[in-house]
Symmetry: D2
Subunit: 303 residues, 4 copies
């Protein structure tokens, strides 16, 4: 069943808040997200920073210990104005270089959906009217965290949240561990495009029309967000420093390979060790995001 | 001019050791490397761990402040037996998971150069006789470090060394800052293939026939290793933790964009921020390696 | 005014929960805490892990932007049985050494308040009936975090929480930034003693009788927990890795010295740089705690 | 036997350089060190940065696998001018705060040995002519590293080096693992005083008269520097980030407790866990230094 939902309230935390809508396992949701600072498709400020979330959506049958599969079917900017920052976050540069970097200030971008381009409007730089292809993604989404916590949409954890990983794009399935009854799914912080690390402190941030479909995977228990696309399965670790995020993602993948792909321990280690691809989600939020990917062509059949 | 050099001595440090050969700017070197534990193309143990290096090669005209360009033209296993490890290094897993992982032990691989495959021989696992395509690369190479230091071939730094980055493959140009007269170039630790992070503590390690050509870039001064291939320019940071390696690589790229591509500071930050790709070289050696890449198609013309 | 409060509900998150009691600025609270696993003074399990908190206490006049001073006047175990762990947490050892360490298991301690000793009961080790002096402290306490968040009592942040710093002992004043109206103060996780880092994953954990007095410091705005004792003022950073916790604490101290002690920037840097003492609070919780201390004898008069 | 040695050459690396003097096991050395930038007791520049070392001293009977005990008997400034820096190193502050900090510049101090004071001369700050008690220590000392390496005196490792730990003061015994025949001991970088972390990038740096006595501990094998004073035994980890330095030091102490104090594994973990004191050596050099201390009063008799 398809539900259209027009949000009127937004949350800056992912927590066990009152559901805005109940959906059944297998249902599809069409809704809107505002940008990271709360501006909507009409250019109106309707919520406050950081990363105001649409939701939460209560998914029937979803119980702690299950997994929520979220099919990202459509992520489409619903206005033409996007924004970003014009200088890198200080923590991604050598500490002694920080003073040499320019001061941080916003940049403006024009999104042309028909041509599929994002064009730099301000500031004036030697790049001129520089254009990049639009590659939409969702920066912050996930479920209510364990134990009734309400965690800021500025950061991320085992429940998902502000992972700012460019791999969460249309065509991808994201999996979240379910900690609270109904899962309580949130979404927001769409980007017209974003490179690795979100090192400007923003992608090209914009409001969006979003379509997702939910599936509850009963009895499939995971500890960290996972996902898959046409070519890869992947696991997501959220922590500081990057080393620890990488440990979480790597350990989660070792578990996945042994649980679902019929591999013994040495088989899982060898397969992962010789095929792994790591991607940096974000390296500027309170928790960094490291993604551990394995190509599907290297995997044995799922058992 | 083309030089064939058959090594008889090997070094386990990169330092200001006596040159084994002098080459002119523009010369090509054909030589051999032994594997990471010192076994050569005949299967004979001719040197000791770690990563015994062929060299150093003195490049004429190379002076401190210049840069050495190394064209990786040919990296070819010169025997059929490769080895690796069958279990991940403990530091890439969650500390509480380390006890659940299998004990580390070596694995054996058969390299078939004609078919271009590496096939797992031991241990016995559910993977069976699992085969992967050969993708050769050089794990440890670089120049003599600053100030007369002699640094173990187990680790890396601004001089290069044991970066274990799979992007150092045939067709790539690597750039090293020159710290000592003659540059004093070393090379070793070839891998038939290696995934991101070298998380098994080895690639598929093997001895190799290598062909490289040297160019001295007078007056082009860099601080960290750089490189380029068909599609990307890249910078390399070597340090712990990954965050700091990323800071080094990112800062070096900001410098490159402003020095050579005619970009003002905001232009460089914006270009890098919206196009950067990070790759994990190794995440298990004493210094980790993070690579910061920019696609050439996004770059303005070089000035 | 003195309030006695006997808790009946406990929270495993610090958040904007319904206050259990309202106190005026200057009031004193006598209450009880249960141990980190929810066992009370009678040995009864009355709450669940982690670190169930007594509270929250609403302090009148406390508004966002003010600071809450908490005078730790009495922290006294109210039973004789304490517990800890008998093996270090894996993350404080070299990753390659983790397998050599013994498996984690609980230890039991007998607390004799009259003699002021804690005596090891189990497990049997070469230490025998080893005794240490009791030095009570509070492991987890603080206020409701910013933006309506509810954050697990297992971790810490700018609002305090599970800092596990042995310097929070009787005679100390702790300062917390106030984020929510009424401050909403929580406390729990008393330790009969704990060394630096809480590297066993516990101190000697026990239920306690606690007496604290509250003062609202109107218009004194801080970003991280602070404190003072007879000899030192100190600031507290909570983050991973230790480096970042140290950055937070150091930056907060630079602010304090310039705001309240009449120092120019160079004066503050020089004073801090030549007198600082760092202490490790915990190095095993989701956020580590680093404390930055300056001896009072080195300080100019407060302005 | 007592040797007086007046240095004429200095090394900026610790490596297998030609010994300047040979001493027997048990001999005492009286010599001089220059300051971190190579200025000697007469105020003359006699060597270049960083941390030029006096030595190396060849200790007879010292073989790889043994340990070198160095008794720090006298560390005395031999001139009245000391220097430091007036602003913290950028890496110890929050990245976003770095721009708010003043620019780094040198400070000058007057050392009055009779009164035992160091007095700030420049820059002018609100501190005025601020005076601190002299507490001398040695910033950089150690032995030739493993495998013939020559490692910059700017950094540290298992061989010691630039640890910048204020606990290396008169009355202390330092222990170093011996990697090369003769141990090859180096020393330099004296500080009239230094607080935790060396966060200004310097202590109060000065040239010194030094007296040390050497003992070779045959067959006592250690992996990291250790030491002891009147009240504590301690181990030293050198690495980045602080977390890893702490892992090295903690693991080394676990080994020590089990090898020399007759403790079983649980006994060692419990004793360490409930008594450990951590101190930050430096948190600004290429490798950070974390010290793990155990009070002697808590130790069983040495076996």
């Amino acid at each position: 069943m398809k539900h259209r939902f027009d949000p009127t309230v937004y949350h800056t935390t992912l927590g066990s808040h009152a559901p805005v809508l109940r959906l059944a396992d297998g249902d599809t949701l069409l809704t809107r997200t505002v940008d990271a600072r709360g501006v909507d498709y009409r250019g109106e400020q309707v919520a406050g920073a950081p990363n105001p979330q649409t939701g939460p959506f209560y998914i029937e049958e979803a119980l702690p210990g299950d997994t929520l599969a979220v099919y990202l079917e459509r992520l489409e900017p619903n206005r033409t104005h996007g924004w970003s920052n014009a200088a890198l976050m200080p923590n991604v540069m050598d500490p002694a270089y920080v003073r040499e970097a320019p001061e941080r200030m916003l940049s403006d971008w024009h999104i042309d959906l028909e041509r599929g381009t994002a064009t730099l409007i301000t500031p004036e730089t030697h790049l001129g009217r520089w254009a990049l292809p639009v590659r939409t993604m969702l920066g912050c989404f996930g479920v209510a965290p364990v134990d009734g916590q309400a965690i800021s949409a500025a950061t991320s954890g085992q429940h998902g949240g502000n992972m700012d990983y460019r791999g969460f794009r249309p065509g991808v399935v994201a999996y979240f561990p379910i900690f609270m009854e109904g899962a309580l799914f949130f979404l927001g912080d769409g980007h017209a495009l974003q490179a690795d690390g979100e090192i400007l402190g923003a992608g090209i941030d914009i409001s969006m029309d979003v379509q997702v479909t939910f599936k509850v995977l009963k009895g499939w228990s995971i500890r960290w967000p996972r996902g898959e696309d046409e070519r890869f399965i992947f696991t997501v670790g959220n922590a500081r420093p990057l080393d620890q995020a990488l440990q979480h993602a790597t350990t989660e993948m070792l578990r996945w390979l042994q649980t679902d792909y019929g591999l013994d321990a040495y088989g899982a280690h060898i397969l992962l060790g010789h095929t792994v691809v790591y991607e940096v989600g974000n390296v500027i939020d309170p928790a960094f995001t490291m993604v551990c990917k394995v190509p599907k062509e290297a995997l044995p059949a799922r058992v």
